[in-house]
Amino acid sequence: MSTASRVVRRLEEVPFLESRDASLLFVLPGLFVFSTFMLFPVLYLVGISFTDAAPSNLFAGEGVFSVMTFGEATFVGLQNYIDVLTDPEFWNSFGVTWLFVATSIVLKLCLSLGVALVVTNDRVRGRRLMRSFIILPMGLPAIFTITVWRGIFSSAEFGLVNQVLGTFGAESVAWLSTRWPAFFAYNVTEMWLSYPFMVIITVSALQDVPEELHEAATVDGAGLVSRFFHVTLPSIKRPVLFASILTAAASFQQFLIPFVFNQGGPARANELIVVYGYREALSFSEYGRGGAVSLIAVVFIGAFMWINVKRGKLADGVSDE
């Protein structure tokens, strides 16, 4: 205890700190570790995006600090950014990414709300057990699930989806080698990957809706549909909004689905922005360009989260005590 109180006394000597600010010490380690591993690479990436770095020149120099000073890569100013921003492939990837965010969030919301309403319905017996099973996909490693879905959407005639289509007499679809079917496959997989998280949050929100509100609405003659829109929805709005923002941000950064399915193909048409940056950097060995793309992605996701957190007032709630 004596060390702690000595620290507190020290803190009081710093002009703009008070003794209660010692609690900051609890938060600093986490903040420090996070910044080292996140902000540092960001700064490095900013540096690299102004050079023509590639594996051949970046790791060419000798000594510990040569990588830090970007090896023998030369400074090219804004060239990478100009290249990227005038490249139609970048804009295609940018557009596809936002489209993916929009479509997948609608699908995820509909599915999870539906599932959550079913597994909290009073009429359904064995709700607890069903809820346990329904969140199982969350325990499966993403890389496994995505490879399995690749098998399901296999373009071959024997892929599961094509077999199901076949039993209804429809033609086989070359899912992964045509653009929009592949995009559809991404959406379905993304939906399946993230519904457990959304369902858990929605279910706990639904359970917090006071029973009296429903009873009062029923007494007033509200039907099932109007009760959903006027009682249930307003009470679960906040948690569900929060979950949607989180999964929307996750969709924006989706990497594994396009990468495992068809490397963002066919012919780079469906490269979501993170895949685009990754491929520029590691498949085509253009570290500088890849860095520029990644930074642009970082800026956009940052802005997206910032707007949502501000507009959705997610950071208050607790800060206003």
């Binding site: 703009f16 279910v203 706990s204 924006f252």
Partner: protein, 360 residues
């Protein structure tokens, strides 16, 4: 310790409940049938219940079909592919556990000799423990089993440090953010919310920078360095989650403890920690899973010798053909423990993710 025994008690309760389900259902059914027969309840009501339950069951089965499909592939033997020419079959034709044997390989507890020197004499007692063969892969016709155990060891040595480091960073921070008022508190909270979802995905965007830095410090093949990285990415989301959970604990409990004369550290160990079990369990599982299932960064940074389970799993996949039976058996062996944890920890996860501090 009380925390642990509490968990054990709840688990046994869960197990009992699950075992009691068929009995309860049977009793319910007979009761309802009686009531309908004697005309106390209109037959419409139970029919509605049965219909709703059946509908819900169909939905659950449809959602979980991919899991079942993969289990079936794993059971269908080593030469199987997922695609059969004669339509979808719901059951494998000749179920075999061969693929699982391939995954597990030999499980042999080697014999040890244990020697005791009897003090003050030259006599030594030597015990030889017998070699215990639990599973010998070669008897099932498998000569080269997978490296599963090697990958498993790597994953464990990555995931456990991840959890320890992350918990040390997260728990004090969430307590301070939830209960104390200090300089920059709101700013840090805002930053964390902003960064909640950024960890994993941006890791890929930042991969080039991360890779260069790791190579420069010579830790690109170090499992510990990887766990520190995972712990770091887990900080914002989990701190925010646990803080929101702690906000739901009424302050009056702490005030009561303070009035009773408890020093601050006892307030934390006796009030806050026991009351936030659900939140802690959720954070524990989430941080564990970060290390257990992450793929892209692990693949980029680790060498073949240090591959973790997800990387090892994906290394089975060829560009054009996937050995489905082995792949699925490998993945299921790897995922089953996590799924079991999910099944039993479900009530904690639901409680932990409820964002109870966030009012509508």
């Amino acid at each position: 310790m009380s925390l642990l025994s509490g968990i054990v008690r709840k688990l046994t309760e869960d197990a009992k409940n699950i075992l009691a389900v068929p009995v309860e259902t049977a009793r319910d059914v007979t009761y309802t049938v009686e009531a309908v027969r004697s005309g106390k309840v209109s037959p419409k009501e139970p029919l509605k219940t049965v219909g709703a339950t059946a509908g819900a069951l169909v939905m659950v089965l449809a959602l979980l079909f991919p899991v079942y499909w993969i289990l079936q592939a794993a059971l269908s033997g080593s030469g199987a592919s997922l695609y059969s020419a004669n339509g979808i079959s719901l059951f494998p034709e000749d179920p075999t556990l061969q693929a699982f044997v391939w995954v597990l390989g030999d499980i042999i507890v080697p014999g040890y000799s244990i020697a005791f020197n009897v003090p003050l004499t030259d006599v030594a007692l030597v015990f030889d423990t017998p070699q215990v063969t639990l599973l010998d892969a070669s008897t099932y016709g498998i000569d080269r089993p997978s490296d599963f155990k090697h990958f498993l060891w790597n994953s464990v040595t990555v995931a456990i440090p991840t959890v320890i480091i992350a918990m040390c960073l997260i728990v004090p921070a969430s307590y301070a953010l939830s209960r104390r008022e200090f300089i920059f508190r709101r700013k840090i909270l805002f930053l964390y919310v902003l960064l909640t979802q950024v960890g994993g995905g941006l890791g890929i965007a930042l991969l080039i920078g991360l890779y260069a830095i790791y190579v420069q410090f010579g830790v690109n093949d170090s499992k510990l360095a990887l766990s520190v990285y995972y712990a770091a990415t887990a900080v914002p989301f989990n701190t925010w989650l646990l803080k929101t959970y702690m906000d739901g604990i009424p302050v009056s409990y702490e005030e009561a403890a303070v009035v009773d004369g408890a020093p601050p550290w006892r307030v934390v160990t006796e009030v806050i920690i026991p009351l936030s079990t659900a939140g802690l369990a959720t954070v524990f599982i989430f941080t564990f899973l970060t290390g257990w299932t992450e793929f892209v960064v692990a693949q980029t940074l680790l060498g073949t010798d240090n591959y973790t389970l997800p990387v090892g799993l994906y290394s089975l996949v060829d560009e054009y053909s996937i050995p489905w039976a082995r792949f699925s058996a490998f993945a299921l062996t790897f995922a089953t423990p996590i799924m079991l944890v999910y099944l039993f920890a479900q009530r904690y996860i639901e409680g932990g993710l409820s964002f109870s501090g966030m009012e509508g």
